[in-house]
Symmetry: C2
Subunit: 351 residues, 2 copies
């Protein structure tokens, strides 16, 4: 199959810094959209994948799945987009398109979903490469439309940090009568606060640090509960309909279960692994409480989110960097030294 | 307040056998129903409470919360029942009647719900005593009506084993398109199979023992999966909408999570304590799967179940015993040597 050589930024090994490299993109096929990438958000997963933290990276790795760009060309069968359109691509670029999950707009739970990077491009029989690159070629089904009024750099994190929190907020029917809590104030947490607030919910941030109180309120939180303060925790027992737990490392979720209302749900979106300390079933049984997981979101739901962001003028709080600064950005991200997401201005790749 | 002395069967200490004793019941007040007890089911909780396994028993303990009887007298304000009616009482005999849970027919999640035994009788300022007794006096709101066509001894376990499995089946919308699995085939498990089957679901039993295959099918199961058989477990990955886990002791729930469908829920109704081994969030996040707890059911829901049992002619599979055999029955129950519930013929207390 025909390919095009383009410039990208990636790594050849887990212990190597990211640097400029050449990669191959497939030529546009019937249903493909070719996108010049303008901005790409920097997600924790990018770093995990570049460094093979999960053990299944295939090198070279070109990260990036929070992509905003401009359509350069489209295949003959493409109806949704035309050259010049501002579009976005998130965490997935393909799926089987025929399983019950795909048929129910839950492509993210398709057993064969293809990640924007580290997946497998069926056309080329090659790994997929992400958005730290000049351009990308994606089937139109997986391309999203970006509302014109939004700041394009700030839109990028909506494609992962945003949808990862939006999907559970919507699935668990958060609205103006809801009481929502968010655990952790990072890339995901700050979007969870903005989105839950815009949905009309009463929003509380759980944080270990008093330093985050003003930041959380500026983002739209109605209250901040210091999770290490017993009195503050006691005061919110039985309060929350939904808790979005964005913490990406192992932590004790038991203290939060008590703060759920009857029928309440704690949704884990950040931490992958065993729940240590062990989850206690007693308060769950005594209040029909649930612990759930949730993964990004489907394509239709992502478009719904982008439209919602357009209507409510919501974007991420970001720090724009050049691609040449990505290795430093990773180090700062590990120290949570970013408010709240790095976004790469991909024009820097051309310089 | 006036009381009546009646005969009961209970224990004065955690290490003492159950024996005959006298207890006080309150005289019938305005909204009370006085019930002559005909049958009382024997629940695992009875044994835990008699032996103070949970550390909060107050002696004397008179167990029993699966009660079927005949109305002897009613208070002047009682509208629902009259002398001679066949009625039932389950696990709770009072609640605050004003919190949001009570207002939503979820009395079992009221912070002030009063257990049928081991609770606190506000009228007498005394502990409540259960159904191992001649009679009981209960506010009409907590008295259930028993369909005339049912075997009365077999109805008794519906009041706890039945409602404990019915409530999650209903809450998670089990119906004819559902795929349900049940973990454990005891008092709760056998009712879960019967009820899910009667709701029209496809029902699978997870069991460690091949000996239970025929029993499960006789009860209405469509399939039995031997949970220690890797091939059988692999064949049911991603299959179930709802799993009712009735196992009352600590066990590994992780193998069952993989057998849930996208959006599926594993509901713990038997085990109180920390989930050991630790619950792994990875398959939960990868399929928006949930782990939930559920406690008995509300009063309206229990009446709904009794009516459903009447319509479908469902009762428990039981072994009827005399009250004098209760200590032996406890020992047999500990060895799971009962198919599937002991029910005491309370006429034996008069002999």
């Amino acid at each position: 199959m025909d390919t095009t050589s383009i410039k990208a930024f990636g790594t050849e090994a887990a212990d190597a810094a990211l640097g400029e490299m050449g990669i191959q993109r497939r030529k546009v096929t019937d249903k493909d959209v070719e996108i010049d990438i303008l901005y790409c958000g920097v997600c924790h997963s990018d770093l995990h994948f570049a460094r093979n933290d999960w053990g299944f990276s295939v090198y070279p790795v070109v990260p990036g799945h929070e992509i905003v760009g401009k359509v350069k060309s489209v295949g003959e069968g493409v109806n949704k987009y035309k050259a010049g359109d501002i579009v976005a691509v998130g965490c997935l670029v393909d799926s089987c398109r025929s399983c019950s999950n795909c048929n129910n707009d839950l492509e993210q739970y398709c057993p064969e979903w293809v990640g924007t990077y580290g997946g497998h491009d069926k056309h080329l029989d090659l790994p997929t490469y992400g958005g730290y690159s000049e351009s990308i070629v994606v089937d139109e089904h997986f391309v999203l439309s970006v509302p014109e009024n939004l700041d394009l750099a700030g839109v990028a994190p909506v494609l992962c940090a945003g949808i990862t929190t939006w999907s559970p907020l919507r699935h668990w029917n958060v609205g103006k009568d809801s009481k929502v809590a968010v655990v952790g104030l990072g890339g995901l947490g700050h979007m969870a606060i903005k989105l839950a607030d815009a949905l009309g919910a009463h929003v509380t941030l759980f944080s270990r640090s008093k330093n985050k109180i003003q930041d959380a309120k500026d983002l739209g939180a109605d209250a901040v509960v210091i999770s290490t303060n017993e009195d503050e925790m006691a005061a919110v027992q039985g309060q929350f309909d939904v808790i979005i737990d964005t913490v990406p490392y192992v932590h004790d979720v038991n203290p939060y279960i008590g703060t759920l209302n009857t029928n309440g749900t704690l949704v884990l979106v950040g931490y992958l692994g065993p729940l240590d300390p062990m989850l206690n079933t007693v308060p769950m049984i005594m209040g029909r409480k649930k612990v759930a997981g949730s993964l990004i979101g489907g394509i239709a739901e992502t478009q719904e989110l982008l439209d919602f962001c357009g209507k409510h003028n919501i974007t991420s709080n970001i720090e724009v960097i050049n691609i040449q600064d990505i290795n430093t950005a990773y180090e700062r991200m590990l120290k949570s030294d970013v408010h709240y997401r790095f976004v790469i201005d991909m024009a820097s790749l051309k310089s």
